[in-house]
Subunit: 211 residues, 2 copies
C-alpha cells in the first residue's frame, strides 16, 4: 500500500535522461526506491513519445512494485497510457483544470509555480500539490530561471493550502533550510540521480527529512 | 453533420506553424474550410503544450462550425482536452493500440506508415486510416525521409483494408497520379497553407479529386 501522499512527497525524485551516473534511469530509480523514495517523476523533455512511453511503462512497474507514486512530467497522454498516478505540469504545459477534466478526480496533479498568483491558480484548478520552481540555481534545467530563494518559498508556503515542495539545486546541505521555510518536501534531480551511490544519498536526505 | 470519414479524407489539410502565407494558421484554415476542406490536422512539433492547446481549441471550434473532422498530430492529451475527433500518429509516437485504449472506440486514429509491416500493424492496432509518408520530396518536414514513390503507394494500397492517404509533396499536378495509385485522398500542407489563395488552391484540388 502506498503511503499518504504528503508523506511520500517528502523526498520526491525527478529523473534525468542524462544524469544517472552511467547506470541508466531505471537502475538508478530502482536503487532510490529500495532506499526509501516513494515518489518518482519521469522527466525527459527530448524523448519521442514512443520512447517516453517505454520509459514510463518501466518506471510505472518499478514504482508499483515499491508501493510508490509515479507521475509523468507534462505528458498526460503518456501518464494515462501507462496507468501512472498522475502528472506534473509546468506553466507552459496543459492548464491544470483541463488536465483534471481529462484525467479524472483520482489523478495526482502537481503544478510548478513561481508566484503567489500561480500558486492561487493551481489551488483553484484542483492541483494536489505545488512545486516552488526553482529555489536554488542548478545546472539541470537548460531554461535557466532566476532562483526564487528561501523568502519566496516562505511566501508561497504561507498562501498555499496544498503541500509545497521545493525544486532546484536541492542537496542534503540545504534541505533543512527549505523545510524550515515551510516546505512539505524536496524534489531532487542531480543529487540522487547522479550520485556515486543513490542509496547513500537517499539515506542522507531521509535522515534530515525524518529528523 | 460531418460527411462520411472516407469522403472527408479526400482532401486532408495539415497545418504548419510557419507556412501560412502570413495569414496565420486559423485564418488559413478558415478559408480552406469555407472552400470545402472537411478534414484538418493540427501539426506543430515545436509548440509548448499550452500553446498547442490554445491552437487546438481554436481549430476545433472552426472545424465544428464547418462540420469538419479535426485531429491533432501526435498529442492524444491535447486532442482529448479540446474534444478533437482524434489523433494522427507517427511511428515514434504512441502505439496506435495504446492510443485506442486511452481515447476509446469513437476516436479517429490515423497512422503514418512507410512499409507493408507498418500498414499491417496499424490495421491490427485498430487505426481508422493510414497515411503513406512521404510520397514525394518536400521541404515541410525537417526530418527528411526518402520519398516512397508511386509504386510503394500502390503496394500499400494493395495490402490495406483501411483508407490510404498520401502525404508529402502533394500538389494539384500529381494528385491524379496518387489517386490512380489507390489512395482514398491526399494530405496537403504547403500547397494549401502557403498558397496565395487557399480558396483557389482548394478548388483546384477538389476539381481533380471529384473528377
Amino acid at each position: 500500500m502506498k503511503p499518504d501522499l504528503e508523506k511520500a512527497l517528502k523526498l520526491y525524485l525527478v529523473t534525468d535522461p542524462v544524469l544517472h551516473g552511467g547506470r541508466g534511469v531505471s537502475a538508478t530509480c530502482e536503487e532510490a526506491l529500495a532506499a526509501g523514495v516513494r515518489f518518482v517523476q519521469l522527466r525527459d523533455k527530448k524523448a519521442s513519445t514512443r520512447s517516453l512511453y517505454d520509459s514510463a511503462l518501466a518506471l510505472r512497474n518499478l514504482c508499483k512494485k515499491n508501493s510508490s507514486y509515479f507521475v509523468v512530467n507534462e505528458r498526460i497522454d503518456v501518464a494515462m497510457a501507462v496507468g501512472a498516478d498522475g502528472v506534473h505540469l509546468g506553466q507552459s504545459d496543459m492548464p491544470a483544470d483541463i488536465a483534471r477534466s481529462v484525467m479524472g478526480s483520482e489523478a495526482i496533479i502537481g503544478v510548478s509555480v513561481r508566484t503567489v498568483e500561480e500558486a492561487e491558480k493551481a489551488m483553484e484548478d484542483g492541483a494536489d500539490y505545488i512545486a516552488a520552481n526553482l529555489v536554488f540555481s542548478t545546472n539541470t534545467k537548460k531554461d535557466i530561471k532566476e532562483p526564487l530563494g528561501l523568502n519566496m518559498v516562505s511566501t508561497l508556503s504561507g498562501v498555499s493550502s496544498l503541500p509545497l515542495i521545493a525544486i532546484g539545486g536541492i542537496n542534503p546541505e540545504n534541505t533543512a533550510l527549505v523545510m524550515d521555510a515551510g516546505c512539505a518536501g524536496v524534489a531532487v534531480v542531480t543529487a540522487i540521480m547522479n550520485a556515486d551511490s543513490p542509496t547513500l544519498e537517499v539515506e542522507k536526505f531521509l535522515k534530515i527529512l525524518n529528523h
